[in-house]
C-alpha cells in the first residue's frame, strides 16, 4: 500500500507537492505519474473565479491511501467520483463507500481531514471542484438565496460541511460527455470549465431546494433501490420489466418501492428507465453505426414512431434531424 499525505486547495499551490510524493512530474496542465503506480490521466485547470478543476481518469496499479490535510481551509471540495472498484472515504471518523454505485458526490469542507482508500485495479473517473468559500458565499448572496447555513459556510470556526450524496442522473451524463473528449488543449479547457459550471448549477439547484433525501432512507432500503437501479441500467436495451418485478427484487411492496425510488433518484422507475434508454439511443446514433430504426429495434421500442416521439419529448428535436446535423 502506498500512502500519500497531501493537501488540496482553491489555488494551484498544492500540485507540486502532490506530484512529488508520487515521484511524478508536471507537464503543462498534466500530472504525470509513474506507470507502475497508476495509468491514465490527471489534469488540472484554473477555471477563474476562485475555482480549480481537477480531472482524474486513471486505473490504480497499487493500493493507495490518500490522507488529505489541508493547509488552507478557506475552500470547499466537491468530488464527483465514479470509481468502479473499491474505494472508501473516512471523514469525521465515519466510513463511507464511494464510487459510481455508492455515494458518488461528496462535498467536504477544506478544514476537515479525510482519508481516501482505493484498492488496486480500481478504475477511477472523478472530477474534483475546489471552490473558495468566499466565492460560494458571494455567489449565494448575489443570487438572493436564503440558505440557512450560509454563515456556517463562510466561517470556518463554526460547523463544517460534509455531505455524501448521489448525483443526479443529469450530472452523471454531463460527466459522461466530458469523459468522451480528448484531454488537453484550449477546446478541452472550454469544455471543462463549461462542465464545472453546469455541475455547479446542478449542485446549487440541489442546495436551494434543500432536499436531503438519502439521510431519511434507511441504508438497507437504499442498497436495494440502488441494486434495482443497477439492474435497470444493465438491462437498458430490454423492455421495462414492470414495477411488480422490481418491487419483488427490492423486497418491498409496490407502493413503498415506487415512493423510495422516486426519493432516491428523483424520477419514477419508468421515467428513469426511459430517460436512460433515450440517452443510450443518443449515444448509439452519435456513433453513426446504426440507422434510426436499427437503434429503435435494438432498444426494444415497439415501433419507430414511438421511439421518435419519445426522443423528441426528451431532447426537443426528432432523431432524424439529430442524425442529419451531427
Amino acid at each position: 500500500m502506498k500512502t500519500i499525505q497531501h493537501s488540496y486547495g482553491a489555488d494551484l499551490s498544492w500540485i507540486a507537492d502532490f506530484t512529488n510524493q508520487f515521484g511524478g512530474k508536471i507537464e503543462g496542465n498534466f500530472i504525470i505519474i509513474p506507470e507502475e503506480l497508476q495509468t491514465g490521466t490527471r489534469y488540472f485547470l484554473d477555471c477563474g473565479e476562485g475555482i480549480i478543476a481537477y480531472y482524474i481518469n486513471v486505473v490504480y496499479n497499487k493500493d493507495f491511501r490518500f490522507i488529505q490535510k489541508n493547509l488552507d481551509n478557506n475552500f470547499v471540495g466537491i468530488y464527483y467520483n465514479l470509481t468502479e472498484g473499491e474505494a472508501t472515504v473516512n471523514s469525521n471518523s465515519i466510513l463511507y463507500d464511494v464510487g459510481r454505485w455508492r455515494y458518488n458526490l461528496s462535498i467536504i469542507d477544506g478544514s476537515l481531514e479525510s482519508d481516501y482508500n482505493v484498492k488496486k485495479g480500481s478504475r477511477t473517473f472523478a472530477l474534483c471542484i475546489f471552490i473558495k468559500k468566499t466565492m460560494l458565499e458571494e455567489f449565494l448572496k448575489k443570487n438572493n438565496i436564503h440558505f440557512h447555513n450560509i454563515e456556517k459556510i463562510a466561517n470556518p470556526s463554526l460547523n463544517t460541511i460534509v455531505r455524501f450524496e448521489r448525483m443526479s442522473s443529469e450530472s452523471y451524463h454531463i460527466l459522461n460527455d466530458l469523459r468522451k473528449l480528448e484531454v488537453g488543449g484550449p477546446v478541452f479547457n472550454l469544455n471543462l470549465i463549461g462542465t464545472v459550471q453546469m455541475l455547479l448549477s446542478n449542485c446549487l439547484k440541489k442546495f436551494s431546494t434543500e432536499r436531503i433525501i438519502i439521510q431519511t432512507v434507511n441504508s438497507s432500503d437504499l442498497t436495494s433501490i440502488i441494486a434495482v437501479q443497477m439492474f435497470l441500467i444493465e438491462h437498458i436495451e430490454d423492455q421495462f420489466p414492470s414495477i411488480v418485478l422490481l418491487a419483488q427484487m427490492a423486497n418491498m411492496s409496490e407502493s413503498k418501492f415506487k415512493n423510495l425510488f422516486r426519493k432516491v433518484t428523483g424520477l419514477t422507475p419508468n421515467n428513469f428507465f426511459m430517460s436512460n434508454k433515450l440517452l443510450r439511443a443518443k449515444e448509439l446514433l452519435e456513433k453513426k453505426q446504426l440507422s434510426i430504426s436499427q437503434v429503435s429495434d435494438q432498444l426494444s421500442f415497439t415501433n419507430n414512431s414511438y421511439f421518435a416521439s419519445k426522443f423528441k419529448e426528451q431532447f426537443g428535436i426528432p432523431p432524424k434531424i439529430f442524425v442529419k446535423q451531427l
Partner: protein, 333 residues
C-alpha cells in the same frame, strides 16, 4: 417598425443605453425585461471568462422591431445560435439571411466590425444565444489548432472581416434546448448558461477543426461485410470471378450499394480488383519455375485463352508474361 441601434462590448455597460432606448427595465446589469408595449420576454447577459460573454435572448414580440448593431472597433466575434421555431432575419452587409428553426441554417458568426441587424418575427417565441468572443482569444484557438491541421472550412479564415453561416451541430442543439425552459431567475441559471455557452464554443471548435475526420460514410458492419467478400475473393483466386450478384448477397447488400461501397474501400470495381490480384498471383507462378509452359500457368488460373491472359497481364505490369516466365528445368524430373 421600431428601430433600435446599439453596439456590444464584453462588459455589461452597453446594456443601460440599450435598455433606455427600448424603454426596458434593466435588472442587476444582467437582465433586460421588455416593456409590455413591445412584447414579452427578456435577455440575460453575463461575462463567462475574460474574453467571453454571453447574451441569452428569449422573447415574443408584439410589434415589429429591428435591432441594428453598429460596427465598432472592439475586436469581437459574435456567434449567434438561433433556436427559434420560425424564421428570423439577419442582415449582414445589406444581405438578408434567414435564420432560426433547426431545419434552416441557424448559426451565424459575425465580425463586430461589420454592421448587422436582427429582425425577429412577430408573435413567435425567439430564442437565441449570442456569444461575444474576443478576437485575441479566438486567434489562440485557431493558432493552436492550425499547428496540427489546416482548417478545412470555407470561411475567410482570420481575415479582418468575416462571417460564416451554417448549421449548429446536434449536441449543441440539445444544449440550447436544455436551457430553453429553465427559469431565468433561479440560482442555477447563471452557471448553467455559462456552462452551456462554453460547451457550445467547445463543440464548435471540435467540429470546425475536426482533428481526426472519421470516415462516416461506411459503418463498421458494412466494412466487415465488404472485407469478408474481399477475403473470399483472395481465397478463390484460382477460380473464375464469382459475379457481383453472388458477392452482394454474401455481404447482404443490394448490388448497386455493394459496388459503390467496394469502390469506396478499394478504389476499384470488384472485378478489376479480382483480376489485379489474380495477375499478381500469376506473376508469382510464372517466376516460380514450376511450370513447363505458359499454357500450364493459365490453366492453373482457370483461363482458357492465352491471348486474353497476355493482354490483361500486359495491361497491369506493362510487360509480356513470356518475359517474366521462368521455365521448369526438365532435368529435375
Amino acid at each position: 417598425m421600431k428601430k433600435i441601434t446599439h453596439c456590444y462590448s464584453l462588459t455589461p455597460e452597453w446594456q443601460s443605453e440599450f435598455a433606455k432606448k427600448l424603454n426596458a427595465e434593466l435588472i442587476d446589469n444582467k437582465i433586460i425585461k421588455l416593456p409590455e408595449s413591445i412584447g414579452k420576454g427578456h435577455s440575460y447577459f453575463t461575462q463567462i471568462i475574460p474574453g467571453i460573454s454571453v447574451l441569452f435572448i428569449d422573447f415574443t414580440l408584439k410589434t415589429p422591431l429591428k435591432i441594428t448593431r453598429l460596427k465598432s472597433d472592439k475586436q469581437l466575434y459574435i456567434f449567434h445560435f438561433d433556436l427559434s421555431e420560425h424564421v428570423n432575419l439577419i442582415k449582414i452587409n445589406n444581405k438578408d439571411y434567414e435564420i432560426g428553426s433547426y431545419d434552416k441554417l441557424d448559426l451565424a458568426i459575425i465580425d463586430n466590425e461589420l454592421e448587422s441587424s436582427f429582425k425577429p418575427a412577430v408573435n413567435e417565441r425567439t430564442i437565441a444565444i449570442r456569444l461575444l468572443v474576443d478576437k485575441k482569444l479566438l486567434n489562440d484557438f485557431t493558432i493552436m489548432h492550425s499547428k496540427k491541421v489546416e482548417p478545412k472550412q470555407k470561411n475567410r479564415g482570420i481575415k479582418d472581416f468575416f462571417y460564416h453561416y451554417g448549421n449548429i451541430d446536434s449536441n449543441s442543439i440539445l444544449l440550447i434546448q436544455s436551457i430553453k425552459d429553465k427559469p431565468i431567475n433561479s440560482i442555477s441559471f447563471e452557471p448553467l448558461l455559462k456552462g452551456v455557452s462554453l460547451k457550445l464554443l467547445g463543440n464548435f471548435f471540435n467540429k470546425f477543426y475536426d482533428l481526426n475526420p472519421v470516415n462516416n460514410d461506411i459503418t463498421k458492419v458494412e466494412l466487415e461485410a465488404i472485407n469478408k467478400t474481399k477475403e473470399y475473393l483472395l481465397n478463390h483466386l484460382y477460380g473464375s470471378f464469382p459475379s457481383v450478384i453472388f458477392l452482394a448477397s454474401m455481404a447482404g447488400m443490394s448490388e448497386s450499394k455493394y459496388k459503390i461501397l467496394f469502390r469506396k474501400c478499394f478504389d476499384s470495381t470488384p472485378n478489376n480488383f479480382f483480376i489485379a490480384e489474380k495477375m499478381k498471383l500469376a506473376k508469382e507462378l510464372l517466376q516460380s519455375g514450376k511450370f513447363t509452359s505458359l499454357t500450364d500457368v493459365i490453366y492453373e488460373l482457370n483461363y482458357t485463352k492465352l491471348s486474353y491472359f497476355s493482354t490483361k497481364y500486359y495491361e497491369i505490369f506493362q510487360i509480356k508474361p513470356s518475359e517474366d516466365f521462368v521455365k521448369k528445368h526438365s532435368s529435375k524430373i
